[in-house]
């Protein structure tokens, strides 16, 4: 099996743009940026303002995308830059792409008008047809389709090996990385762009998680402190993409590895008290993890957050534990990639020699990623 290394990271979130900004925020330890007002009573971690032109030069491309895709496309560009691949058309032409994604934004005004009109519509079905035919922007569909973030990355950045889009909330982020790593390690492919993007500043996604009772509705508190007060997650806008390749491939093109991806394990426990804890134990054992730092994807949701805390006490006694939720919020499909990026940054900066990144999904799915020195 071949070693798999990370050679480029692109990261955007409420904590800023780029790996450095995030590592600084992590070491600074201050409270993260939140917006309490826009979706009151739901705080969100809003994406930092970005000059889209810097990574998505054509306005026509920007117009075809909604924020989740723009965030992802922007981060993908940063990752390609950092990996020294941005200007290498031939390399990007054989680069494989795996994206972890949900779906795209809606036209909230149109939805509201239709719901208002439906109340007194003589024939609701006919009314719905007429309004959707008349009011939906034709191109909005392309900003909603899950695989069109990958499509936009191909168009804007020319990454055209082939793309696959994984769905399934947090797990999709872990499994995107896992499959990319296995394909490289086994020699099936040499180089990948992998990552995900999430826009939390959307009432439709808040609605899904509020229906399930998963959202924190008070001002920001660290994820570990939330269970005592009922628990809940604060969604965050952000995106993270990384270039992964075999060690030999990186060496042959003179790319400097930041860290090695030593192993990725994921599973799906039947959730009950203690199941997430047991699952993390199994995954860490499978990876033979002996981390000196942990980057946790903990959500702050009651039960699973304490489960994870208990597991980490055994898996990584004495190691500092940083929660990505306390830095950028919960970025769902982008959560695991973001954790891996931060861990790779700490290892590259000699702040750690081995890191464990955890992902305990808010509703299902557990994952762990072990990173070591390159």
């Amino acid at each position: 099996m071949r070693d798999v290394v990370i050679t480029g990271i692109g990261l955007v979130s409420s904590a800023g743009e780029g790996l450095e900004a995030h590592l600084n925020a992590l070491s600074g330890g201050g409270a993260p940026h939140t917006d309490l007002a826009t979706f009151e009573p739901f705080p969100v971690h809003p994406a930092t303002a970005l000059e889209w032109d810097r990574q998505i030069p054509k306005k026509s491309d920007q117009r075809q995308m909604e924020p989740w895709q723009k965030l992802g496309c922007y981060a993908a560009g940063l990752a390609l830059n950092a990996a020294g691949a941005k200007e290498d058309a031939a390399l990007k032409g054989r680069m494989q792409l795996i994206v972890s994604a949900g779906g795209g934004e809606r036209d909230y005004a149109v939805d509201g008008q239709i719901l208002t009109g439906l109340r007194n519509a003589e024939n609701p079905g006919v009314f719905l047809n007429e309004r959707l035919m008349g009011d939906l922007r034709p191109t909005l569909f392309l900003a909603q389709l899950s695989n069109l973030l990958a499509g936009n990355i191909a168009i804007v950045h020319g990454v055209t090996g082939a793309s696959r889009t994984f769905m399934g909330e947090e797990s999709s982020g872990v499994d995107a990385l896992r499959i990319a790593r296995e394909r490289i390690a086994s020699g099936q492919d040499d180089i990948f762009l992998v990552g995900g993007a999430y826009n939390a500043e959307r009432p439709d996604v808040l609605l899904i998680y509020e229906m399930g009772g998963f959202l924190w509705k008070k001002p920001y508190a660290p994820v570990w402190n939330r269970p005592a007060e009922g628990g809940g997650m604060i969604l965050g806008s952000g995106a993270c993409f990384m270039v992964l390749e075999s060690r030999e491939h990186a060496a042959s093109r003179g790319a400097k590895p930041l860290a090695a991806v030593a192993g990725i394990a994921s599973d799906r426990s039947r959730r009950k008290p203690g199941s997430a804890e047991a699952s993390l134990h199994r995954l860490a054992k499978q990876l033979e993890a002996k981390p000196d730092v942990v980057i946790s994807g903990a959500t702050g949701i009651k039960g699973i957050t304490e489960d994870e805390q208990a597991a980490l006490k055994d898996i990584a006694p004495g190691a500092p534990v940083h929660a990505t939720g306390d830095l950028v919020g919960h970025t769902m499909e982008a959560q695991a990639p973001t954790g891996v990026a931060l861990a790779a940054g700490l290892i590259a900066g000699r702040k750690a020699s081995e890191a464990l990144v955890t992902s305990v999904g808010h509703w299902r799915g557990e994952g762990a990623i072990r990173l070591t020195k390159a």
Partner: protein, 426 residues
């Protein structure tokens, strides 16, 4: 026979298949109808179609689900197909010894649910998402969280069949079903698993989904004669017809399948894929990405273009797809393309979108095992720009050893698979 391919990788055998489409439930019913040239396209009865440009589809109406919405119907179609496939494979139901790769339509909350939330909010003036959020806070709608998140269909299928590990839900738009199979093939070749359950499912014919495609002018508007609307490769083709369906394949390391005495139905010999950066919904005018995917699939399978006996086309019936597919195939197969049979199942079952690649994989393998090529129906007006042997209107008997199946999708997705009765050189 060697149980490794010419590249030294484990051979990937198919030991179970299941399918459900508008033509029927199970591969026997579907295959009988498909080779009889029957159409499953009909007028939409599921919701009012007043004011719509397209009023026909290949919906699956013989399956009842509650609440009626895309994720629940898609889940049911996946379950039905997988029950048939796993049943045929002889593997223990509920204890599937491998991973799940499932192509599912991107889900989101639908209008009946939005309407229920709006009503529950008590808002009597203008409704906004603030009102929906207020209604959601009551906790009365908790099951809808699980219903409308992306990983749920896979989770439930994994529970039912006892697949191992984290199930993978995926989308590569209209090539998703083929990608699910490709992921399974790769995992077996890596030696990660000896078995994979690969599924494509789509039950998303609802007003908004249909209107979205309609607004992109992708759908046929020839509503008068629903059965005649899907006309792949015909000069008067005017768009695709939405269809629903599900298909499942049990893939196994051939050595493991042989060791347990399983009946091998055929092999997935090769996979090819290629991204296209030209446009969000259109292919590169030179067809280069599609051509590359075709060639890669043949090379991966270790076969030459001349070995292929039949092409199961993507064949959507849109002006663009059929022209580009014919061009790409001609580039790869040369003059032989004029006489190499190529037919489109979509002429009968419509475009089953996320499921299409998996449904058509099952049909490709049945073509090999039965020696009968399903036709392209509704082929009355040939397109002189694409002179192909589309197996017009009537099924044809032929010895078919190797099939190429094409899948192309929005977002620059091109995925091609090669199936065989036996590996080349066996």
């Amino acid at each position: 026979m060697a149980l490794r391919d010419t590249k030294g990788r484990p051979l990937v055998a198919v030991t179970g298949m299941g399918v459900v489409t508008s033509l029927g439930q199970g591969k026997d019913d579907t295959w009988a109808a498909l080779t009889a040239g029957k159409s499953g396209i009909h007028r939409i009865e599921r919701f009012p179609t007043d004011g719509l440009r397209t009023t026909i589809a290949g919906t699956v109406d013989h399956v009842d689900v509650e609440p009626f919405c895309a994720p629940v119907l898609s889940e049911r179609l996946a379950m039905l197909a997988a029950e048939e496939a796993v049943g045929q494979s002889g593997l223990t139901p509920g204890d599937f010894p491998g991973a799940l790769f499932i192509a599912v339509p991107p889900v989101e909350m639908e209008w009946p649910q939005r309407k229920a939330l709006a009503e529950a909010s008590g808002q009597e003036g203008d409704v906004t998402y603030k009102d929906l959020l207020k209604a959601a806070a009551s906790g009365a709608f908790k099951p809808w969280h699980d219903l409308f998140i992306f990983g749920t269909v896979a989770d439930r299928v994994a529970d039912r069949f006892g697949t191992r590990g984290s199930p993978i839900s995926l989308s590569t738009a209209c090539s998703s079903g083929a990608t699910a199979i490709q992921l399974g093939v790769e995992a077996i070749r890596r030696g990660e698993t000896d078995a994979a359950l690969c599924i494509g499912t789509d039950g998303s014919v609802n007003p908004e989904s249909l209107i979205r495609f309609s607004l992109l002018s992708a759908l046929s508007t020839q509503n008068e004669n629903p059965e005649g609307a899907s006309k792949p490769f015909s000069k008067n083709r005017d768009g695709f017809v939405m269809g629903e369906g599900g298909a499942a394949l049990v893939l196994e390391n051939a050595e493991a399948a042989r060791a347990r005495g399983a009946t091998i139905l055929g092999y997935v010999l090769g996979c090819g894929e290629r991204g296209d950066s030209f446009h969000r919904t259109r292919s590169s005018p030179d067809g280069a990405p599609g051509i590359a995917a075709l060639r890669q699939a043949l090379a991966d399978a270790g076969v030459q273009p001349d070995d292929i006996d039949y092409i199961n086309a993507h064949g959507t019936s849109t002006p663009e797809n059929d022209k580009m597919e014919a061009m790409s195939c001609t580039a790869v197969f040369g003059e032989r393309m004029a006489s190499l049979p190529i037919s489109s199942n979509k002429s009968m079952i419509g475009h089953t979108l996320t499921a299409a690649g998996a449904v058509e994989a099952v049909m490709s393998l049945l073509t090999i095992s039965t020696g009968r090529i399903p036709p392209t129906i509704n082929y009355q007006v040939p397109d002189p720009a694409i002179p192909l042997d589309v197996v017009p209107n009537v099924a044809r008997d032929a010895k078919v050893s190797y099939v190429l199946s094409n899948s192309f999708g929005f977002g620059g997705q091109n995925t091609c698979l090669v199936f065989g009765a036996e590996p080349k050189g066996a």
